[in-house]
Each structure stands twice: as C-alpha cells, then as structure tokens.
C-alpha cells in the first residue's frame, strides 16, 4: 500500500506554503511595477532579465557546484549577435536571438572542453579570462561592435508587425520568460539529469563510481548556463534598444553573483528573488550610481561570511543542516 507523501506527515504542509513565499513576493513586485509603469517598470524589467541570467548561473554553480566567472561572455555573444543582426542587417529579433543563443552555446562547447578540466583557482581565472577577452573584443572590434560607442536603434521584440514596445507589454513578456526559466530549473532539479548534477556537486568520485560521466554533465550544465546567459543578453538589447561593452563587463559578474547569493544558491526561486532584491534596493535609496557596486561588493562579502546559503534557503522546503 502506498500513501502519498504529502499527507504522511502533517508538519510538511506549512513547509509547502512557506515555499510559495518567494514566488508570491516576486508576483507582488512585478504586479506593482505593472500597475505603476514608467520607471518602476524599467527597473523590474532589468531585474527580470538578470533573473534569467542568474537562473542559468545557478544551474552551473548552484546545482552542479562548478565555478565560472565568465558567463558574461555568453551574455555578450547573445546580446551583440542580436544587436548586430537586427540593427545592422535587418533581421527580425526572434531569429537573431535564437542564432545568438546557438552561437553562445557553440562557443561554450569549444571553450568548455579544455576549461572544465581545470580545477580550483585555475578554473576561476580561466573563466574570468574568457569573460575579459570577450569584453576586450567588444571594445576593439569596432567595425562590428562600434566599440565604446555601442550599437543603438535595436528594434524591440516582436513577430511580424506585432512589436512589444510598451512597458507593460515588456513586463508581461519578461515575466513569461522568467516563469519558463524557473519552471525549467524546477523540472531539471527533480529529474535524473538534475540528480546527476547534484551528484557531481556532492562528490565527483562517488558520482563516477555510480556510472555518472562527470565531465559530460559538467559540460552540459555549462552549455545550459551559457544558453540562459545568451538569452538574457539578447533580451536586454531588445528591451533597451542599445548595447555597449560595459553592459556585459565585470560589473555584471559582481552583480549577478550578489543576486545569486542574496537569493540563495542552489534553490529554484533564489535567482528571481535575488535579482529583484538586488535591483530594487539601490532604487529605494534613490541612490547614486557610484555607491551601487560598492554596496554590492560589501553585501556580497557579508553574505558569503554570514549567510552563505542566501535568503531563499530560509524558505527552502529541504532544511539544510
């Protein structure tokens, strides 16, 4: 006789409800931005784009416990391909975005093979180098990227004559994309594939001993993460209509890590919650842009020391010891 696990132990019910809190928080924030529109909508839109990126980062770093300081490279590839193809070559946004994602995944496959064999600080520095090389190329390859000037006049998303130009339209579109990403992450987590990633995270030796091809799963998580990054990069350029090298610079690395740790690394809701909180906090201070990165850096250090599992882990149904 089998009993459904949800009713075997009564104390599990409140846990389930607590698990919904992060989503409720996100829904309230997005709903508010939808009603107010204007600047609030812009800020929340950026947060949602970051959420896509951080969701991908989390697959690689949270689920599989690998290290990459260079995922901004893939956002840059996705973003610039979208920008160049649409603004300079008249492509429609959707095929440009798909090509951008494909290109980023392809590049990730090429650099991933040698890079993922590295360990520890070699891997950290190797991936950081890949991010910086991409940045330098976006600066220097002026005939295509227009250097520091950046590319403007990038069309908004749309299919045929229908374009998403309004704040609210963009918010709805981005919310759908983020929901799809979170759904994908949740499904991956509870699957054979996701369990293999957790195994790689837990003990590579034990994973190997159980027949899991560790190198292959690391690479797959890396490709997946690169795909999310490219999607975020492409979303950014079409929502803003402009791209420059600074968008995908070292700033992005620090901001996204802060988001990942604020929200809770390894959780499904963490990336979204982290992206929203980290994007909104400076705004509530009405703050000066100069202090932003300073605050991100300081918050990140404090979190790493005092709450290495992030805020969403407080709501996570599976308590960590």
């Amino acid at each position: 006789m089998t009993i459904s696990p949800s009713i075997t132990s009564p104390e599990r019910r409140p846990v389930r409800l607590v698990g919904l809190l992060p989503w409720l928080f996100a829904a309230v924030v997005v709903g508010y931005a939808m009603v107010v529109g204007g600047y609030a909508a812009t800020v929340v839109s950026f947060a949602l784009i970051y959420a896509v990126f951080v969701t991908g980062l989390n697959l690689f770093m949270g689920f599989a416990a690998q290290v990459s300081f260079g995922q901004n490279a893939f956002a840059a590839i996705g973003g610039y391909l979208s920008a160049v193809l649409t603004a300079s070559h008249g492509w429609a946004p959707v095929p440009a975005m798909l090509l951008g994602i494909a290109a980023a995944v392809l590049v990730a496959a090429i650099v991933g093979f040698p890079t993922l064999r590295l360990k520890g600080h070699y891997l950290a520095m190797g991936t950081l180098a890949i991010g910086l090389i991409t940045y330098e190329i976006t600066v220097e390859w002026q005939s295509v990227t227009q250097g520091y000037m950046g590319i403007s006049g990038i069309p908004p998303f749309g299919i045929g004559p229908y374009e998403v130009t309004s704040d609210r339209g963009q918010l709805i579109l981005l919310s759908l994309v983020v929901a799809a990403c979170a759904f994908a992450a949740a499904r991956i987590r509870r699957s054979r594939f996701g369990r293999a990633l957790s195994a790689v995270a837990g003990s590579e030796e034990a994973a190997m001993a159980l027949g899991i091809e560790v190198a292959r799963y690391k690479l797959l998580a890396f490709l997946l993460s690169a795909g999310f990054a490219a999607l975020a990069g492409s979303l950014f350029v079409h929502v803003v209509g402009f791209v420059s090298p600074e968008v995908f610079g070292l700033h992005m690395v620090i901001v996204t890590f802060t988001m990942l740790y604020v929200g809770g690394i390894g959780t499904v809701a963490g990336p979204l919650v982290g992206a929203l909180i980290v994007s909104l906090l400076p705004e509530t201070f009405r703050a000066f842009k100069d202090y932003q990165d300073l605050a991100y850096g300081a918050v990140l250090i404090v979190l790493l020391i005092y709450a290495p599992r992030g805020l969403a882990s407080l709501f996570s149904p599976r308590g960590r010891s």
Binding site: P5, G202, A206, L210, I212, R320
Partner: protein
C-alpha cells in the same frame, strides 16, 4: 563462472610498489574478502579494479571483458560498482535522493526528458522511486527517506552508501571496509545484508579489517601483505596458514587489527 579476474596486477608510486603482481579470481557466487594488515595495498587494489587508478602492469577482466585502465564511470556502467572506505554520500540530498542517484545507470532520461517529461520519463521516474524505496526498506532506512543524508548517524550512512551502490544494479559490488566504525550489532546486521546481496545473485568483493565480519561472511579470502598476495582459501584455511599468521604477528592479532589511524585523505 569467474566474474572478475586479476592477472599480474601491479601499481607503483615512484619507487614504492603498492600492489605487486597480484592475481586472483572472484567467482560469480558468494562473498570474496581481501584482508591484510594496514598499508598492505588493499585500497589501492580496489582503486585499480574500479578504474580510479590505472595499473602500472597487469590485466583486469570483468566477465571476460578487459577493463584495465578504463574510466570509473564506464566500469560502473559495465556492472562493477564500488563503495568507499570514507563514506562519500551526497550530503545535501535526501536519503531517498541519494539512492535515486544510484539508479542513474538504470535510466536513460536526459535533459529533454527532464524539461518535457514525456510518458516514458514519468514511467522511468516512478520505477526509480519504487526501486529506491524498496532498497531503503532493505537497508532499514525507510523511515528516514526524507532526511538529509548528512543527518544520519554514521552506521546508517554506511548502510545508505550500500543501498545506493545496489541501486545501480551491479553484478559485482566492491565494498571498501564496510564495517569500519560500526558497532558489533551494526556489524552483525551488515553481515546479514551482505549475505543476502550475495544470495540474490550479486557477487561481493570486500576489503575488511574486522575479522569477525570476514570469518562470518566470506566464502573465500585473499590475503595481501606489502602489496603481494600471500595466501588464498576458505576462512578456515587462511586462518591456519603460517604465512598469514606471520604477516599478522607483525601488526598484532587479526581480531585486534582495527585501524587505529585512518589513512588521511590525500590533499
């Protein structure tokens, strides 16, 4: 029928010969034990068999196929699964999920199955769930299925590692000191479980210091000392073998030969 055959297997570390020209067969039936004093090269031998170290010389065949120096995941996929002397659980996962990871080789769902969840993937997942719960019950862990693995007491962690390895459906399971750190009662329970695994058709090869466990559980014993095989036979034969007695006299009585100092993990 021979399940595993070692022919002249040797492993050198620099000038040190950790495993020196060792040959023996592991038959399909029953439990085979490798014993020997601390530092005799038993764990190195296991690492060679399971692919974690390539041998310097010699040949290892599993069910007639040459597996010498193949990668660990491939050897596991071929039906030869090991456990570790220092338990290596996935501590952040629940007890149940640990065993589900063990089912990895029995499934084939990939990334797209994870995202789209077609009917075949759902069926596979149900089978994994059922088999994992069955194995937890077998290992006496059914009540703790949803606990994080790190919350289990040590003895239970060992049982979990065993259940997880069995989930892979091996035809030969290598157990690296499964009784290390267990009390007498737990050790006796472990002995029964190992016998049952063998009776259900999985060959067992174990390394052990706990002589009571070996004498009660093993059908055949291989004795190594200084990396060389010095004796082989039934537990009774081995116990009476002068070479074995001599080897153990240097390090104390066999029954008292609990490892006082664990070999420190490297790194």
């Amino acid at each position: 029928m021979t399940r595993l055959r070692l022919e002249g297997v040797t492993r050198r570390f620099g000038g040190l010969v950790a495993v020196d020209d060792v040959s023996f067969d592991v038959p399909a039936e029953g439990v085979t034990a490798v014993i020997g004093p601390n530092g005799a090269g038993k764990t190195t031998l296991f690492n060679l068999i399971s692919g974690f170290l390539p041998p310097s010389a010699g040949r290892i065949t599993f069910e007639g196929r040459d597996i010498t120096g193949r990668p660990p995941a491939e050897i596991a996929a071929g039906g030869l699964v090991r456990t570790f002397q220092l338990v290596k659980l996935f501590e952040d996962l629940s007890v149940l999920d640990n065993v589900k990871v063990g089912c990895h080789l029995r499934g084939k769902a990939g990334l797209f199955a994870a995202l789209l969840r077609p009917a075949s993937a759902r069926r596979e997942e149900q089978a994994v769930e059922a088999r994992s719960r069955e194995l937890l019950a077998f290992a006496g862990l059914a009540a703790m299925a949803d606990e994080p693995a790190s919350a289990l007491p040590y003895g239970r962690q060992r049982m979990l590692e065993l259940a997880r390895a069995m989930a892979a459906g091996p035809r030969l399971i290598l157990l690296d000191e499964p009784a290390a750190g267990l009390n007498t009662e737990e050790s006796a329970a472990l002995s029964r479980i190992i016998r049952r695994i063998a009776e259900d058709g999985t060959s067992v090869l174990l390394i052990e210091h706990d002589m009571t466990l070996v004498m009660n559980t093993a059908d055949r014993v291989v004795v190594v000392d200084f990396g060389r095989k010095i004796a082989q036979g039934t537990p009774a034969q081995v116990r009476a073998d002068p070479a074995v007695i001599a080897a153990y006299l240097g390090t104390g009585k066999p029954s008292a030969d609990k490892p006082a100092v664990q070999e420190a993990p490297h790194g």
